[in-house]
């Protein structure tokens, strides 16, 4: 199987995601610094929403890191990967929903609903991939039985 290109891509993308996560954390630290000067409720909610979105990206990074480490061992279509994708995808969807509700209810100015919606979509893509993993696993089991 040609897993080399998959591993290479996963490695690059893990670094890419980690970079995004670091950027988000820097933004969060910046907001925390501002909170020291201005402790209004709006800023506090803004930090909460930013924190939720940052954790969404961190979970994405963890997911890609774990998938890469398993792909290196030749484990791709396995039940563990499927479960991992389903669980982390579900968590990311919930993060998106919570931040969407917070932005709507508290009408936070500096955050757009698009980011929360995209977080939901990212989670859904992971759940979608977990279904593909399930189908691939079944195909592999069928092949092993045929052989």
């Amino acid at each position: 199987m040609k897993t080399r290109s998959l591993i290479q891509f996963c490695n690059i993308f893990t670094i890419f995601t980690a970079f995004y996560g670091v950027r988000e954390f820097l933004g969060l630290f910046n907001l925390c610094y501002k909170l020291g000067k201005d402790d209004t409720n709006t800023l506090l909610w803004q930090i909460l929403v930013q924190g939720i979105e940052t954790w969404g990206i961190v979970f994405c990074c963890i997911l890609f890191f774990m998938l890469t480490s398993r792909a290196k061992r030749g484990q791709i279509f396995i039940a563990e990967n499927e479960k991992l994708m389903m669980i982390l995808g579900g968590i990311i969807i919930w993060f998106g929903v919570i931040s969407y509700v917070l932005i709507h209810v508290l009408s936070i100015k500096n955050h757009t609903v698009s980011a929360a919606f995209m977080l939901c979509l990212l989670g859904m893509v992971f759940v979608f991939v977990s279904f593909i993993f399930k189908m691939g696993r079944q195909l592999k089991e069928e092949r092993d039985l045929t052989i």
Partner: protein, 144 residues
């Protein structure tokens, strides 16, 4: 094959995407029609928003094409792999460009552009998984 569940979920995602994209496209059109500000900042915001909207529209187009392919031809086929790779790369590039413009020329939040880029990257990752799945299926067909 449990492709029924997969189809239902894909349909749900494309419906959500459709709703979201319509809102985003209308927002963009509204900004474009109300545009009478000639400052560079407003121009950059508009450009970044444009890249983001094109990315979301491509995402919808991708889901519709993929669903049609799954209904007519099957899941693990070369065509799906290619579609995923091309659309994934386009979405990744559009998301990254929008993020760079937002980061360096405007002070707008870049989280949504980052998410779009992440979705693009995930699609490329899925295309690699598809390639392995296709190889398994071809091997199985040859064995039978």
């Amino acid at each position: 094959m449990e492709s029924k569940k997969y189809r239902k979920f894909s349909n749900f995602i494309s419906f959500l995407l459709g709703v979201f994209a319509m809102k985003d496209v209308f927002d963009f059109i509204e900004t474009l029609t109300n545009y009478n500000n000639s400052t560079m900042l407003a121009k950059y915001v508009l450009i970044a928003q444009g890249f983001f909207v094109v990315g979301v529209v491509l995402l919808i187009a991708f889901y519709f094409i993929l669903l049609e392919n799954i209904k007519k031809r099957g899941v693990f086929i070369r065509r799906n792999e290619k579609i995923m790779r091309y659309f994934g790369f386009s979405i990744l590039i559009l998301g990254t460009t929008s993020m760079i413009i937002c980061n360096y020329w405007t002070k707008e939040s870049t989280t949504s552009a980052r998410m779009l880029a992440l979705i693009g990257g995930t699609l490329i990752f899925v295309s690699y998984i598809f390639r392995i799945g296709i190889e398994i299926q071809e091997e199985q067909d040859l064995t039978i």
